[in-house]
């Protein structure tokens, strides 16, 4: 009866797993559940981003002994960028005490988590991406598309194209093609491009590339026929190098392709080789490892053998730096909340309050060693994006070079659209709009 004994052993080990799955919470620890992805088509983004995030948390632990003595802890759960795996990870990790914030780095997973984290009162951070109308803190108290929501990104790209053409009035009669990833993330900006096209008088054609996007011949032939003045690449993962290579194949000039914030990394251009030379992309955080905070991570974390990236040449790459910036934002939110609620393990709702008072002006950013890495952030209870600035980098075949100043998206133009969409969501779900007083009522245990 060997099979029976096997089953018995399996049952025993299953019981063991269940019994040790819940580690006891220690005092004065703040926990980050990381729904990371290190395999699958988007592993390059996942390893870079979560690597940078973990490196920064490590830096805080090693250099400062945590945030005011509160040690930062985390564990990883592999999602492969798939929604149901993300949900499973959420359920698995949420039982851990002292969770500060969720950072799934996936729009699909974030969407599936909105109801759940709102019920559990723990913030959900979707840095540089996410659901645009979650910017409206009146409707989405726990969701933070920090630095740059997709509409601001769109506005920033259109403003940049306008500056290349010599002014916003020169956009009239121009033609822009948006090549977008066939996913919730990719589709998020369809209406805002239509709206800006109407407003500024350019024509826009939006073409979908089915996930994951490793075949784009027909899309680029359509682009060649359309002869647009600019192509906006709203890609993700393998779609980006394929787009650049196919563009060269059909003879479209690469310096007229503008990448969005998820088409802006080394991993997007290096595989395309020479085809990527001259390609420009938007970013909220410049690449490179010359910034003091990145240098400290190299010195304190990597030289001690605790670095997260296996390939050290990726230190200071776009995704790694984004992970570092995300780490700064998360840690500073905890610091803000600690000043109000005490230097201890905070509840998710207290961390939410911290995010809603997260204000880092350029001077504070410089004090954190991140001058020119990112510009500034100014989150409030009803503006969960925090007015991040963008800049543009051009790939010269070896590295990214900043080719613009810090540009402010047109927030005043976008806010009414965001509010309208958020209010429609609130009406559909029967959510009462939150007020500033509601935002100050914090669950402290």
């Amino acid at each position: 009866m060997t099979f029976l004994s096997t089953i018995k052993a399996a049952a025993l080990s299953a019981a063991m797993i269940v019994s040790v799955a819940l580690p006891a919470a220690h005092a004065d620890e703040q926990y980050f559940p990381l729904q990371s992805y290190r395999v699958g088509p988007y592993a390059a983004g996942g390893t870079g981003f979560f690597g940078g995030f973990i490196d920064y948390l490590n830096l805080i632990n090693i250099r400062d002994g945590g945030v005011n003595g509160v040690k930062l802890t985390w564990d990883e759960c592999e999602t492969q960028y798939e929604v149901e795996r993300g949900v499973e990870c959420y359920e698995r990790q949420k039982s851990h005490a002292g969770a500060a914030a969720w950072n799934p780095l996936s729009v699909g997973i974030a969407y599936a988590m909105i109801d759940r984290i709102t019920a559990d009162k723990v913030p959900l951070i979707t840095v540089n991406h996410g659901r645009t109308d979650s910017t409206d803190g009146r409707v989405f108290p726990y969701v933070f598309p920090l630095l740059l929501n997709p509409y601001s990104e769109t506005s920033g790209i259109v403003n940049y194209i306008a500056s290349k053409e010599g002014g916003i009035d020169k956009l009239k009669g121009k033609k822009i093609v948006v090549l977008y990833h066939g996913s919730p993330y990719g589709k998020e900006t369809i209406p805002i491009y239509e709206l800006l096209a109407q407003k500024y008088g350019f024509s826009v054609q939006q073409i979908e590339v089915p996930h994951p996007g490793n075949e784009q011949q027909s899309q680029w032939l359509t682009i060649r026929r359309a002869k647009p003045d600019f192509v906006v690449l709203r890609g993700w993962g393998v779609m980006n190098p394929v787009a650049l290579k196919t563009a060269v194949k059909v003879g479209y000039p690469v310096d007229h392709i503008v990448g969005n914030v998820w088409s802006n990394s080394e991993e997007d251009v290096i595989p395309a080789g020479d085809a990527a030379k001259g390609y420009t992309a938007i970013t909220t955080q410049a690449s490179g490892n010359s910034y003091p905070v990145v240098q400290e991570i190299v010195k304190t974390v990597y030289d001690a053998g605790k670095g997260n990236l296996e390939d050290k040449s990726r230190i200071g790459s776009v995704y790694h730096n984004l992970g570092i910036v995300n780490g700064i934002l998360n840690v500073e939110a905890i610091r803000v909340a600690q000043e109000k609620f005490g230097h201890r393990t905070l509840t998710g709702d207290e961390v939410r309050w911290g995010f809603e008072h997260l204000k880092l002006d350029p001077a504070k950013v410089e004090a954190l060693g991140a001058k020119d890495l990112f510009h500034s952030i100014n989150v409030s209870w009803d503006n969960h994006e925090g007015e991040g600035y963008v800049t543009f980098q051009q790939w010269d075949g070896k590295k990214w070079n900043v080719v613009s100043d810090w540009i402010a998206p047109d927030w005043a133009l976008l806010r009414p659209i965001i509010e309208k969409s958020a209010e429609a969501y609130a009406a559909e779900k029967g959510i009462k709009l939150r007020t500033a007083d509601d935002a100050d009522a914090v669950t402290t245990n």
Binding site: M1, L4, D75, C77, V83, R92, A112, Y185
Partner: protein
């Protein structure tokens, strides 16, 4: 059901309905009291949805012998149809939306079942791929289906039946359990009816079936319709009760393969097989990933762990299929017989 052979005759043979009734009583009476939210949200809800999809596909593939790779498409059709009925038809109760969604999936199933009249085996499997690609394309292309939502992701409506809110994890579990229990019971009745026997006749020998007067054309389309209906309802459970959000990409070809694996591993032409297979497909990777994380989590990063889990899972499935080609159901019956035998000989 396997007949119990002669030398077991002295054992007290329980009526066939006892086991399912006890199981359902346990699922309703005990599980909600002892289960954690992890158990419901991460294990039982996907298990129930995939089991039901497996039951649906088993009627088509296991009983009627028509291979289909379009299961995820029918799930998507069901989920999006239920969402739209719920959104656009004022005053329609949730159950009404679900039943209508089943009919929509069934209609799509019939359309994509038409090639089965001419094609068999692998050729049919390839042609059902058309359903997979077409439905996903249509749902992405026409934003009407997702109520013009910017990103194409829709939020599931609140679940409530006759005024009872079922939004909590337990409520959604009971909601899914009830639907799965009812539909599975109906499917069980179906396969033991004349129609079910017609399905099997067509699977075993189409020409012979035609000669003894079974309307092959009608029966095949009926199999497609019923199967798609059930899979469509499973899609509603997946979207409304489990994920609470729906996007067309969640119903990709991988999902179709997953459901096909469920019935192959669980046991073809067996209602129970779908449940065994779904249990393995849902629970096994989770147990592996927990075990891996526990034993080696400090040594390797999660990416390496995940890759090695896939290798282990794949190897185990291959090994298992070699040792027990008839699926988990056959294995279970064998274990039960041995236990009975051991119990009897003491």
């Amino acid at each position: 059901m396997t007949a119990i052979s002669g030398h077991f005759s002295s054992a007290p043979v329980l009526p066939k309905w006892i086991a399912p009734v006890l199981l359902i009583a346990f699922a309703y009476g005990v599980v909600p009291l002892i289960g954690s939210s992890y158990l419901f949200e991460a294990i039982l809800l996907p298990f129930l949805a995939l089991s039901l999809a497996g039951v649906g596909l088993n009627i088509l593939t296991g009983y009627a012998g028509q291979v289909s790779l379009g299961s995820a498409a029918f799930m998507a059709a069901g989920a999006f149809a239920a969402y739209n009925f719920n959104l656009r038809v004022e005053g329609l109760p949730l159950i009404g939306s679900i039943v209508l969604a089943g009919f929509v999936a069934a209609a799509i199933g019939i359309v994509f079942g038409l090639p089965s009249l001419r094609l068999k085996g692998f050729y049919l499997a390839v042609s059902t791929l058309a359903a997979q690609f077409f439905v996903q394309w249509a749902l992405t292309k026409f934003s009407w289906f997702s109520n013009d939502s910017a990103s194409g992701v829709i939020d599931a409506p609140r679940l409530s039946i006759a005024g009872f809110a079922l939004d909590g994890a337990v409520g959604r579990y009971l909601f899914a359990l009830t639907i799965v229990a009812i539909v599975t019971f109906l499917a069980y009745r179906l396969v033991s009816s004349q129609t079910g026997r017609n399905f099997i006749a067509i699977r075993d020998n189409e020409t012979a079936a035609r000669i003894i007067g079974i309307p092959v054309l009608k029966t095949k389309l009926l199999a497609f319709a019923i199967s798609s209906f059930i899979i469509g309802v499973a899609g509603v459970i997946w979207a409304f009760a489990y994920l609470r959000t729906v996007e067309p990409d969640g119903f990709d070809l991988d999902r179709s393969f997953q459901i096909l694996f469920i019935i192959i591993i669980g046991g073809l032409a067996s209602i129970r097989g779908a449940f065994f297979g779904a249990a393995l497909i849902v629970v096994f990777p989770l147990a592996l990933s927990r075990l891996g994380g526990l034993l080696l989590g400090d040594v390797f990063d999660s990416g390496v762990l995940d890759m090695s889990q896939r290798i282990v899972l794949g190897a185990l499935i291959i090994l298992f299929l070699i040792l027990e080609p008839d699926g988990l159901v056959a294995l279970w019956d064998r274990i039960r017989r041995r236990l009975l035998f051991a119990w009897q000989s003491t």
